[in-house]
Symmetry: C2
Subunit: 396 residues, 2 copies
C-alpha cells in the first residue's frame, strides 16, 4: 500500500491505513456518509457515486456485508493514494472543522458487557469485601445486559445529570433528586453490520463477517441510582439517561496489527466460546477529566474478546441487526492509573482523583468534561479512534 | 355511538368500540395498516386515502400524536356506523382468514417491568425462602430492565428452544445445551406513539398523550439459563431468544371503561410516581397450554400502573421513541390459578400442572403451544385483545 497524496502529519492517526467511517453534514447540507482522512472528511456519495452513502446513517452500507466493505475500502484507498484521482477527489473533501458530525449508525439493540476482570474484581472488592471478588459465573461467560438504544448519543452531546431515586445505606427510605455519584465508564464498542437470522448463532470465527467496526463508548453511570434499583434485574435508570459514542467507526480491517490474544482463560471456556484466531485488541485508551489525563486503560487486558462476546450474545439464537452495538464494559487494567471509572479511580470516594489546580473528584461535578481517546498500532503507523467527549449539565 | 352496519356477533369483542390497529397483507400484496372489525380487517390506506397507513408498520401513524389518533378513530367509527359508507368501505374489508398478520410496529426500545406484587413475592419465596419475599426497593419503584427489541416477534412465530449455559446447584461447573426449564410469562404491553425529547420526563398525567395502545406479551423465559447468568446485571440470554406479542394494538381510548385504581400503594410512592387519575386496567387474561386453560391472571391486581411505569422509565430524562414497547412483567394474582408463569404454577416443579389426557408439565416440552388471551370491559360491550400464541420447536 502506498501513501496518500494528501499532506497528513505522521502522528495524525488518520492516515490511509485507518479510514474510519462516520456521518457528517457539510455546511447547510444534509447528513451523509464520509470517511476521515487526516483532518478532512471524504464525501463518499460524491466520490464513489453510490447512493448507499447518501444516507443519514451507515446502516444500509453496513448491511451489505464484508465483501462489499472490503471493496469500498480498496476503492477509497485507491482514490487517496493514486494522485491521478486528485482532481475528482478534492471537491469531495471537507475540512473537519467545517462539518457537523452525527451519530454514525441508527442503534438497533445496545448491549453492554462486563468483560474486564480487573474492573469486575475492583467492583466486587468494594461492594462485597468479605466474598470472592468475582461471582461464580464470571469466568464461564461474558456477563452482559441490554441497555437503552434510544439514548445513545454522539460525542459532544451535553449530558444532563439525571434525577432519580437514591437510598444511601444510612437512610431508611429513598429520596428523589439529582444523582450525587455520577460516573463514567471508558469502554470500546463494536458495531454490527451483517445481520443474522433468528434461531442461528455466530461462532467466534464469524466475528469479522458480522462486525463492521470499532468505536469508543462512555457509558455514563449514576452509581447511587444504580445501587438502589439494580436488584434483581440489573442496571436500568442508572445507565439509560445517556451513552456517548465516538463519531468514527474504525473498520476491523484497519486493526490487523492490533490483534493480540486475550489473557489466559482459566477455566477453559465452553466450546462455543473458544477462539482459534485471537480477537483481543491492543488499544491504548486515555481518559481526560477537564483536560487532565486521569487514566490509561489498556484494552488488551480484557478477559473476554469481542468475538467471544458476539458468540455469547447469539448462542441462544438471538438475531443480529445492522446497527446493533455492543460495548465491552469498563476497561480497567491491573494498575491504579489503568482504571476506567471514577468509582475505581477514587476507590468509592476514599481516594479522590487529583485534578489541575488542586481540585479533587470522587464523582463528576456539573461543568466537568470527560474525553476518552484511544489509539492502536497499525501497519507501520498509528490508528486513532479519535475521541468521545461530553460535558455535564446541571439536572433539570 | 351507534352500532356498526356490519354483522358482528355480540360476543365478538371486536365491535366498533374496540377498533384495534394492526399490520396485514392481503393475498399477494404488501403489508399495510389495518383496523380489525369483527372477523374482518379494514385497509386504512384504501378507506381513508392517507399514505401514512400504506406502511409496513404503525410507527409513522403512532408518531402523529393523540389528537390525530382520535381524529382517525372518529373517522373509522363513522365509516363503520353510517351505512351510507357501506359501498366505499366494503371493498376495503378483508376476511381475517385471508390475510397475513405482521409485527404491527418496529420495536424501538423494549423494556420489561416486574410490577406484580404476587409474582415478585412468589419468585422471592421460591428462591430466597429465608428472607422477606420482596426486595427493599420493590415498593418504592417499578423495577424494570431493557430487553432485546430485535427478537420481539408477532404471535404465531415458532419459538425455538434456546441453547445456553446452565449450572444446576448440584453441579460444579456449567454445561451447554438446550434449556430444560423453558417457561412463559403472561404480560401486558404498552406501545409508545408520541416521542419525548432527551432530558425530559413524562409524568403519569401525560401517559395517554404518549402511549398509543395496549397489546399482549409472552416473555418466553429459559429459567435455567437465566438463573446462572443473571447476577449481577440481570436477565440476558434467558430472555433474548424471543418475545411474542399479539398482532392487535388496542387504543387507550377503547379502555375507558376498564380503568381501575391500582391496589393501595403503601408506602406512598415518591411524588413523581403519584397518579391522580387511575391507570390500572381491569383486563382478564387466560393462559392456555395445548388448548387447556391453566391460568387466569387478573391485570387489575398489578401493584404499579402503566402510567407509573412510564413516569419511572423517563424520570432520568430518557427519551421516548415511537415504537418503544414496555411490558408489565408477569401478571399473577393472589390465587394459585391466577399465576402467569409455569415456574409459579408448578411451584418450581414441585407441583406440576395437569394437562388434558393425564399429562403434566413443570416447564414447556417441545411441541407445546401456549396461547394468552385477554378481554376488558367496554362501554356496554367486551373489548378483546385477541391472542398471542407460540409453539415450541426443538433446539437447533
Amino acid at each position: 500500500m502506498s501513501e496518500t497524496w494528501l499532506s497528513i502529519p505522521a502522528e495524525s492517526g488518520f492516515g490511509v491505513r485507518n479510514l474510519p467511517y462516520g456521518v457528517f453534514s457539510p455546511p447547510e447540507s444534509s447528513p451523509r456518509v464520509g470517511v476521515r482522512i487526516g483532518d478532512h472528511v471524504l464525501d463518499l456519495a460524491a466520490a464513489l457515486g453510490d447512493p448507499v452513502f447518501a444516507r443519514p446513517n451507515l446502516n444500509e452500507f453496513m448491511a451489505t456485508g464484508q465483501a462489499c466493505w472490503r471493496r469500498v475500502r480498496a476503492e477509497v484507498t485507491e482514490l487517496l493514494t493514486d494522485e491521478a484521482h486528485r482532481g475528482t477527489v478534492e471537491p469531495a473533501l471537507y475540512p473537519l472543522d467545517e462539518v457537523e458530525l452525527h451519530l454514525p449508525y441508527a442503534v438497533a439493540d445496545y448491549v453492554d458487557f462486563y468483560a474486564s476482570e480487573h474492573h469486575a474484581s475492583n467492583i466486587g472488592r468494594m461492594f462485597r469485601p468479605d466474598a470472592a471478588p468475582l461471582l461464580p459465573n464470571w469466568k464461564h461467560l461474558p456477563v452482559g445486559y441490554h441497555g437503552r438504544a434510544g439514548t445513545v448519543v454522539v460525542s459532544g452531546t451535553p449530558i444532563v445529570r439525571p434525577n432519580g431515586q437514591r437510598k444511601p445505606p444510612a437512610e431508611d427510605t429513598p429520596s428523589f433528586g439529582p444523582s450525587r455519584r455520577l460516573d463514567i465508564e471508558a469502554e470500546v464498542g463494536f458495531v454490527v453490520g451483517t445481520p443474522s437470522p433468528l434461531g442461528t448463532s455466530v461462532p467466534p470465527t464469524d466475528f469479522a463477517r458480522h462486525v463492521f467496526g470499532v468505536c469508543l463508548v462512555n457509558d455514563w453511570s449514576a452509581r447511587d441510582i444504580q445501587a438502589w434499583e439494580y436488584v434483581p434485574l440489573g442496571p436500568f435508570l442508572g445507565k439509560s439517561f445517556a451513552t456517548s459514542v465516538s463519531p468514527w467507526v474504525v473498520p476491523l480491517d484497519a486493526l490487523d496489527a492490533a490483534r493480540v490474544p486475550t489473557p489466559v482463560q482459566d477455566p477453559e471456556p465452553l466450546p462455543y466460546l473458544r477462539e482459534t484466531d485471537p480477537w483481543g485488541l491492543d488499544l491504548s485508551m486515555t481518559v481526560e477529566l477537564n483536560g487532565r489525563p486521569i487514566a490509561h486503560p489498556p484494552f488488551s487486558s480484557m478477559y473476554w474478546s469481542p468475538a467471544q462476546m458476539l458468540a455469547h450474545l447469539t448462542v441462544n439464537g438471538a438475531s443480529l441487526r445492522s446497527g446493533d452495538l455492543y460495548a465491552s464494559g469498563t476497561v480497567s487494567g491491573p494498575e491504579r492509573e489503568q482504571r476506567g471509572s471514577l468509582i475505581e479511580l477514587s476507590w468509592n470516594g476514599a481516594e479522590p482523583v487529583e485534578l489541575d489546580g488542586g481540585d479533587h473528584r470522587s464523582f463528576l461535578a456539573d461543568g466537568d468534561t470527560v474525553t476518552i481517546r484511544a489509539t492502536a498500532p497499525g501497519d507501520g503507523c498509528t490508528i486513532s479512534f479519535g475521541e468521545v467527549t461530553g460535558t455535564i449539565h446541571p439536572a433539570s
